[in-house]
Symmetry: C2
């Protein structure tokens, strides 16, 4: 009798993984994941059978993980939280009687926020700018609603070669509702090797360094920068 753990490994460094995720990987016979993500946990995966595929191989990986889990202890890994733009949904959509357990991890916006200070202390949205499975019209509507509702906004998959202008257009929309000095941060490789942080505001924003490995966080109307730290107050009267 096998088992499938659907694991969010967090930002990618072992120390920012939960004890539960680490233990599940350690007791697994087989690790399934996107090649680059399996690489992030290679010290834990050492000696185990690995089934990895490239980008866009999600469905193949999930089907193989479910198949293997009938007779083996299997971990399928996502970076961040498996339950936020990760593999948990596809696994449960495809599941047919297998024993599946979802193990949450630190999602990318939380990881990026911790590096910046405290930008998402209040009501907030996560929006992916990827249009592979979501029409751009719906993405634009969500940006508009999030901007009008004064949410702190974290953008996942902010820019790719096929849609270089979505990020700029999103910030133009947000600027209709927020002041030009509203903080905007770009965090690349948060809490893993190669971490890089850039602070802007809506007026000064420059998207030239942004790619798919970045998270972009836009403050709400109360957010500010204090000595290099991005803070959104919760509302305490100090």
């Amino acid at each position: 009798m096998g088992k499938l753990y659907v694991i969010g490994i967090g930002p990618g460094s072992i120390e920012n993984m939960t004890l539960r995720a680490k233990e599940a990987i350690e007791k697994s016979d087989i690790i399934v994941g996107y090649t680059k993500y399996v690489d992030l946990i290679k010290t834990l995966a050492k000696g185990k059978e690995i089934f990895s595929t490239g980008m866009k191989g999600e469905e193949e990986r999930c089907k193989e993980a479910l198949r293997l889990s009938k007779d083996n202890i299997v971990s399928i890994i996502s970076t961040g939280d498996a339950g936020i733009y990760g593999m948990a949904g596809l696994i449960l959509e495809l599941k047919d009687g297998e024993d599946v357990e979802v193990i949450p991890g630190i999602t990318a916006s939380s990881a990026a926020a911790s590096v910046l200070g405290a930008p998402i202390m209040h009501d907030n949205c996560n929006i992916s700018l990827s249009d592979l499975m979501t029409p751009y019209e719906l993405i634009k509507k969500r940006i508009e609603m999030a901007a009008e509702g004064d949410f702190v906004i974290s953008l996942y998959n902010p820019k790719s070669k096929g849609r270089p202008h979505y990020l700029r257009e999103s910030l133009e929309t947000i600027k209709k509702y927020r002041a030009g000095n509203t903080p905007v941060a770009v965090v690349k490789h948060a809490l893993r090797d190669g971490q890089d942080v850039k602070l802007f505001n809506l007026d000064s924003f420059d998207d030239s360094q942004v790619d798919m490995m970045c998270i972009v966080i836009i403050g709400n109307s109360q957010s500010y920068i204090k000595q290099g730290e991005f803070i959104t107050p919760r509302g305490y009267k100090l």
Copy 2:
């Protein structure tokens, strides 16, 4: 020379804490936190000096943590993620030269989602219904915008004695935009002792068991229940 760790301990069980959070607590001389939360990590805090205060003592705790951190290694703890409705913001607002490091944790909506299946697989919002520091008019506007934008919505602090009707009113607003069979879940004490899960839809929702220890998750227009699991598809064509 001291140091202050601002730690998100996650849902409250040690196994769902990150290794980094656990290690920071272990190497601290003093633990600061809300009494009930310090209790959740008492095995780690054993033998250490504790400074704990009741609910609403946040500012006092933060000032004391900063003061103590000048000469000691101190951890101030929040449940969930310190950076989402936790202590990171207040600490950084009050900080004046102290050495502060924010350590992220699994936020309550991620923990609740992992128990339910995969409800927040797509664009999503976290909204707190607490009006202690946010006017109800702004909360209502955010609910409206999140509903219109078809976000998966996670409600923090969904109900308290002082505002028993906010949750019902919020769901009424969401119902203007979504079908009556949209899944709604209530998770109490996610991933800790006493965990309890209730599944409803917008039509059948009953708020009588909801309190401040719960997270309420409302699906988007594509969400559904499959064999007791709450799934929001990411959009794969299966």
